[in-house]
């Protein structure tokens, strides 16, 4: 008798749990649906365009001590070729014997063409409401010129291979007081942090989804945020020290993630939360 009562209770409990689980599934699904509606509603007008327009102006306007424009800057496809260039970065540049990502190359061109010092060219990598960044605007414009291009980051050169290999190790490096690595959040399928889906950057599909949608206008900040900013802010939240702008680790990690996205259509600048 007692045993039977226990069974009945257990069955009731189990049934309750199944019902609860189903309800959780439904809640989660409708939340995801509503979030998707929110994202859709934002697609109509993307303030990133304001940055793209300013960046195009900065690219074409003579500036700096040499009073030259950036129109002769070689982003990897030849001097002045912007169309599609971002889809093939980072890459090896023979003139500096080094792998460079877009930001590093832009800084290089601002030194060689504008005549800025390296410190000046990298002084303001990310903008804030009180202090706009020319880098943000230039990156917005250059990346927008790769919209629709297929990601095709080269890996023929030994230094390109090395950057990729180092980037992979940096991705899995656990450290800091919280023991976090990039992989803590970005190496599993179908997970999310709070309500934000976390792309699995170790797989092609996830890397494609993530890499091809940066830069993005972040509505939470009212700023255009570049992929470099995304890396920086991830490390801040990993409780690491600050990732140096245009540093070797930054280039290597970018190379790893960009190449994982090969084959996908580049879609940025986008608009995100």
């Amino acid at each position: 008798m007692r045993i039977r009562a226990w069974y009945a209770g257990a069955i009731a409990l189990a049934a309750g749990m199944v019902a609860a689980t189903a309800a959780v599934g439904q809640d989660a699904a409708s939340t995801a649906q509503e979030i998707e509606k929110y994202r859709q509603a934002l697609q109509d007008g993307n303030p990133a365009e304001l940055w793209e327009a300013r960046g195009e102006g900065l690219w074409k306007k003579p500036a700096g001590p040499k009073n030259a424009s950036l129109e002769k800057c070689d982003l990897g496809l030849g001097p002045g070729v912007v169309k599609g260039a971002y889809a093939q970065l980072p890459r090896y540049f023979a003139d500096v014997d080094r792998v460079m990502d877009l930001e590093t190359r832009l800084a290089h061109c601002r030194v060689t063409l504008h005549g800025l010092t390296p410190a000046q060219a990298t002084a303001r990598p990310f903008g804030s409401p009180d202090n706009r960044s020319d880098n943000d605007a230039l990156v917005a414009w250059v990346t927008s010129e790769s919209k629709g291009a297929t990601m095709n980051v080269p890996s023929a050169h030994a230094k390109e291979k090395e950057a990729f290999a180092l980037g992979e190790k940096i991705f899995y490096f656990r450290g800091g007081p919280y023991d976090f690595s990039c992989a803590t959040c970005h190496a599993a399928d179908n997970t999310r942090i709070r309500l934000q889906d976390l792309p699995n950057l170790t797989k092609q599909a996830g890397a494609q989804l993530a890499y091809t949608t940066w830069p993005a206008y972040r509505v939470s900040q009212g700023e255009l945020r570049t992929f470099q900013w995304r890396l920086n802010d991830c490390f801040r939240q990993q409780r690491f020290p600050e990732l140096g702008f245009a540093s070797d680790a930054s280039i290597a990690l970018t190379a790893f993630l960009a190449r994982n996205a090969n084959g996908a259509e580049f879609k940025a600048p986008t608009i995100k939360r």
């Binding site: 939340t31 509503e34 979030i35 509606k37 929110y38 994202r39 859709q40 509603a41 934002l42 109509d44 942090i193 709070r194 309500l195 934000q196 509505v219 939470s220 900040q221 009212g222 939240q237 939360r273």
Partner: protein, 157 residues
Amino acid sequence: MDSGRRDALKAGGSVSLLTLLAAAGWLKPGEAGAQGAWNKAAFEAKSIPDAYKAFGGAPAQAKEIAFVATPDIAENGAVVPIGVTSSLPKTEQIAILVEKNPNVLAASFDIPAGTEATVTTRVKMGQSSNVYALVKADGKYYVAQKEVKVTLGGCGG
């Protein structure tokens, strides 16, 4: 709804309405759309009833007012898309109010003849709240509302 509409009519018919509206700079014939007309009293209202007062009384609920492209859940309160469309004849004004914002009125639009009674913009919301679409049609006020939840996102720091 009918009794609500009668209330609105009563309120709308009171003498104080015109005085209030004039003081608020809300209605100045011939000045609709002129630069500089800004309804200070309404924009300073701290509650929905106060905002209604600044507009001239409680509006009636109207099914003819709909939210379009307005999500139930916003991933971030800094930018919440709000679209309002009215099928009330002679819609001349659409205002968007957020109940739990420090100042509830976010925007008001004058709709001249020839312009569709539909506008879309983006507002800030400090927290989850009811959002009101206040419409003036043929001289009377109507309203519809919906709840928009604002969620916390990302890594939280």
